[in-house]
Amino acid sequence: MKKELLVINVCQEKLHYFEFVKPIEDILQKQGLFFFTKHYSKLNSVDLKKAEKVIICGTSLKDNNFLEKNNLKNFEWIRKFDKPILGICAGMQIIGKIFGGKIINKKEIGFFKENFVKDFFGLKGEQEVWHLHNNLIIFDKSWENYVSSSFQACKHKEKEIYCCLFHPEVRNKHLITNFSSI
């Protein structure tokens, strides 16, 4: 079975694919990386077996469908998955919920400066990032925060699960290529 990176679309509206999934596919394609894309509601065990890494994409401010209990069940596989995962924005919130993190309301739209205290796929020190989210996640002690303020970028201490609340497909595209090459 050919190993490929799996891109997971979490958008409820088909039209949002172009804004939140395609830019990530374009970055991977430009690097000549093999990938396949699936909507989270259509994922199966063959997809997860075939995937050598996973990126869970973001979605729009109005779309919180992925956080509903019935839909979160589609992500239970994350607990036992033993290959690298990167959760972006909504993807981070999903991972947070699966690992018992607490979601709190915090709306941020536009460019913000964040201070990376440790290298996060090439981001270090003060960096400008593109935010488009309604919520923050508070993770427990099994996660390491890479940013000096709230959880904007973090990693599970024992698993290769990475999260960023900002959108690297808009600014800091190299984060995605660096994740893809680990």
Partner: protein, 225 residues
């Protein structure tokens, strides 16, 4: 689960390639477009609204078969956002829209502000061209039979000669070379190039209009109709 059935969308419409192509992408995926929204800026240096032939959007809306709301703004930096907000409010009331579509490619200034307005009204915001490769966009326009001409230029090394030029494979090759040499955006994102759609699969027939004047100097030229 994915859906595309319940939304009624309004499109921020300038009459250029990006907003027309954004409509086309939405319609192809089954979305209902309820109205077009055009902001006519009296300030030619507007931060948000750029097109030099915005008067033609009314005719284009007729060709597409959609109602259009056209509003004038003086084009002062933050005041024009208030005008846009009020116009979207009017579209929500009049056409019961619950989402906005834009043709934004890379302008974070526009994207941030439109996202905030949509968020304030609790409606969806769709940017189907967001971060799109600009050469890919131009190629798709040609493939999908969009007849597009240049109606304004505003950056070196563009000149008066480009006004009226059609976007076709030759144009795309020329822009790719210019991109390598001068680091310009090949699709003109950022206001370097303004376009007008004369015909496309959305139109009932070709747009008919006459150029009154081509005005400008140096690397800044635009048509008047």
């Amino acid at each position: 689960m994915e859906s595309n059935k319940k939304l009624k969308l309004g499109v921020l419409f300038s009459g250029g390639k990006d907003s027309c192509y954004a409509i086309w992408i939405a319609k192809k995926r089954g979305y209902e477009i309820s109205c077009l929204i055009t902001i006519f800026s009296e300030n030619k240096e507007s931060y948000m609204f750029h097109t030099p032939v915005i008067e033609l959007t009314k005719k284009q809306a007729e060709l597409i078969g959609l109602p259009i709301i056209i509003k004038k703004t003086k084009g002062e930096k933050e005041k024009e956002l208030k005008d846009l907000e009020e116009t979207i409010r009017e579209a929500i009331k009049k056409f019961k829209i619950n989402g906005i579509v834009t043709g934004a490619l890379a302008s974070s200034y526009q994207a941030e502000r439109i996202q905030k307005i949509c968020d304030k009204f609790g409606i969806e915001c769709f940017n189907p061209l967001w971060q799109k490769n600009q050469v890919e966009l131009l190629n798709e326009l040609v493939k999908e039979k969009f007849e597009v001409i240049i109606v304004g230029v505003a950056a070196y090394p563009f000149d008066k000669e480009m006004i009226g030029e059609k976007i076709d494979t030759n144009f795309i090759e020329k822009m790719k070379k210019m991109q390598e040499k001068y680091k310009i955006n090949p699709a003109g994102e950022g206001g370097e190039i303004e376009t007008l759609v004369l015909n496309c699969p959305l139109f009932k027939k070709k747009l008919n209009f006459k150029i009154k004047n081509i005005i400008g100097e140096g690397n800044n030229w635009r048509v008047e109709v």
